[in-house]
Subunit: 74 residues, 6 copies
């Protein structure tokens, strides 16, 4: 009966159908293992968010990543 | 002033424009009938979710339905 | 299999248990009537939001309502 | 560490990439200014909702706006 | 950078702090294992929903469960 | 007509009523400045999330912060 919403970047980074099936399977299993929730009524919804529509650190995610990579290089 | 979000499967199962208008109308009416909420400020947002992105019972919804149908047949 | 989230004001305006049961019943019926969705797997989650945490028109909802009432009186 | 979700109408009304970047920047700055939240971990997700999927006042948004415009003209 | 929202029943059924920590750990690990998402920026938010505020099959969840249990007994 | 949901940590870190009013005001102003959205129909909902219910980097947020602080000290 739990409801889980997973938001990840989409477009060229979108998960494959097999990866989405794996996320659904493992999320449902986790809720059974940790909380004893009956798998039959666990609902999982995956949202794929465009790279332009996701921000972190005040920047669109693509810019955020480029800066983080530059910093890591020093 | 209530906010309602309705998530249903999309793609080939997506509701028509007329069905979406009907969901908006009935949801708003319900909030007036049950809670006395003024219709003018009730907001309804409908999300259409790809079949691959919806899971139930640990399976992608298409697989879940096929199994449920098989079980029903015995 | 649809998922519906209803957000209304809580605290002293919170719906009663009977009103919440009615919202769940009518929402599920609506999705069957309009889209043919099987009631057994429709999930409804109601969130009660504190009056201080809800804004409209750039104001906290209590201030928004007081102004709207004043305007209505002219 | 805050998480902000902004839903606006999409399609022909969709914000441009530059407008989305501006929303992300200003939202993150606001959370720093008002609550002192460290910008580096603030997440912003923008959802663009089809005009057919957004309702207000019991109507699909396009109908709602047409009526509001007609009323304003009087 | 993914964002995951987990909704479960709260109140007397609320997960313990240790269970919540375990959900956060496993969800983050899953997103690394399945999609290669860097754990440091994965955000998980757990919502505990009152039993009165959760509906399934057109009923408040407590009634839904009582009926399901009665049916199972035959 | 936009809808904005802001999630921040609550409990002892909860924003004050004045801070929440400021978030609502600035969010609504931002949507007018950047996208020209009419303030009167912009809705903002603020959720306060318990520290135990928020995870980042695979840890409950309090643990995540303690580790980040320790690392910063070196």
């Amino acid at each position: 009966m739990p409801y889980v919403n997973i938001k990840v970047t989409g477009g060229k980074e979108a998960p494959t159908a097999a990866q989405k099936a794996e996320l659904i399977k493992r999320t449902t299993q986790m809720l059974f293992d940790v909380l004893g929730k009956k798998p039959s009524t666990t609902v999982v919804v995956i949202d794929e968010v465009d790279l332009d529509n996701w921000g972190m650190g005040g920047e669109v995610i693509s810019v955020y990543r480029a800066k983080a990579a530059a910093e890591a290089k020093g």
